[in-house]
Symmetry: none
Subunit: 121 residues, 4 copies
């Protein structure tokens, strides 16, 4: 369900956050679905429960999941999530493009580079 890449420079908790975000945004996980308990996922991934706890706290803070004490963590029903994710992603894109323009790369060059990627997915 969740894969950790130890060669990835990003911290483990961040990778966990990202995996869940994508699964929720893609609809693999649906509103009110229960996600694994902190302890279970920790055992499954051979990771310390504190690290999972941190990932889940972050997911809750960002509105992707909600916690019911004593029961577990569940996927939120928040229609705003995809919209917010898009905004963040476009902001990132624009930042990179700005850097590109600065060194003389043209809009057309960038667009050519993006085109055709959709089907690779």
């Amino acid at each position: 369900m969740i894969l950790i890449d130890y060669r990835d420079a990003r911290p483990i908790y961040e990778q966990v956050v990202e995996r869940f975000k994508m699964m929720i945004l893609r609809g693999v996980l649906c509103p009110d679905d229960k996600i694994p308990s902190v302890r279970n996922l920790a055992v499954d991934l051979s990771i310390n429960p504190n690290t999972i706890q941190r990932a889940y706290s972050e997911l809750e803070r960002q509105g992707y999941i909600y916690t019911v004490k004593g029961k577990g963590n569940f996927v939120s029903d928040n229609g705003q999530l995809l919209l917010r994710f898009k905004e963040e992603l476009f902001a990132e894109l624009k930042k990179i493009c700005k850097e590109a323009f600065e060194v003389g790369i043209t809009e057309e060059e960038i667009i050519q580079n993006i085109r055709g990627g959709e089907k690779d997915d």
Copy 2:
């Protein structure tokens, strides 16, 4: 010449590296131009010399500058730099676009978002 943003989450050495890279790629700094000595820049920016040294080592490792012992640090004459920078930048773009496609954002939506940014520069 170099501006450090202490509120930027990135480490200082990384900001220094990035500033020099951009100045070299934009042609603000030309091949064989002498860049400030570690000591001088450290004083100018009120930064630990170790931090500048680390930035310069990184710039040398990436081929942007070369060191002449006893003389100082100079901008490389390396025609490959822009090409390599472009490849890295396009790789980043593709990674983000891949994530976008995964959550259902279309190529057209991305391209619309990029268009028009060139003139804002």
Copy 3:
């Protein structure tokens, strides 16, 4: 009769306590009215009976209900309840106002903010 909000960060037993308190203070539930049995309410709300039991114990401790063994739980006839509730509520208000005054918010600003809320109820 009782609604549980699983997205509410507060524990379930606390929500149950609060709902009953409000119903009793508003007069929706009257002295000596029988409230649902632990078992029935647990089934109705699809909640663990332990949780309901804990809520009822808390309500009894605070004087809102009394238990007759073998008969059930009943609303208390305690004229002091509203008075005590008011005191608690005013204490909370004062604590928040104190914090407000500390950062320079004026009494007038607070009062303006409260005025007009009564009819929204």
Copy 4:
């Protein structure tokens, strides 16, 4: 500088957050002031560094401080902070008043209770 109340039901990290917020909002701590290092404050308060770390992360997330890696944590220069704090505080007040109105407490009664508190500060 910071006092922890072990009888307080709130977790320690939350108390630390609250103390710093108030000091910043009251102007006791000014923009770009350095706050104690995680380790130092941990020793001073006889608290685990992780707990201080958590408090500082929260303060950063809320925009009260910023971190310079390897240097320390510093007070932000964010004019929005007081405004946002006010909004949160007024929201709390309204929630309590709403509860008050529900059990028949009048606006006037509440206002009388608040008046005169400003000078006690």
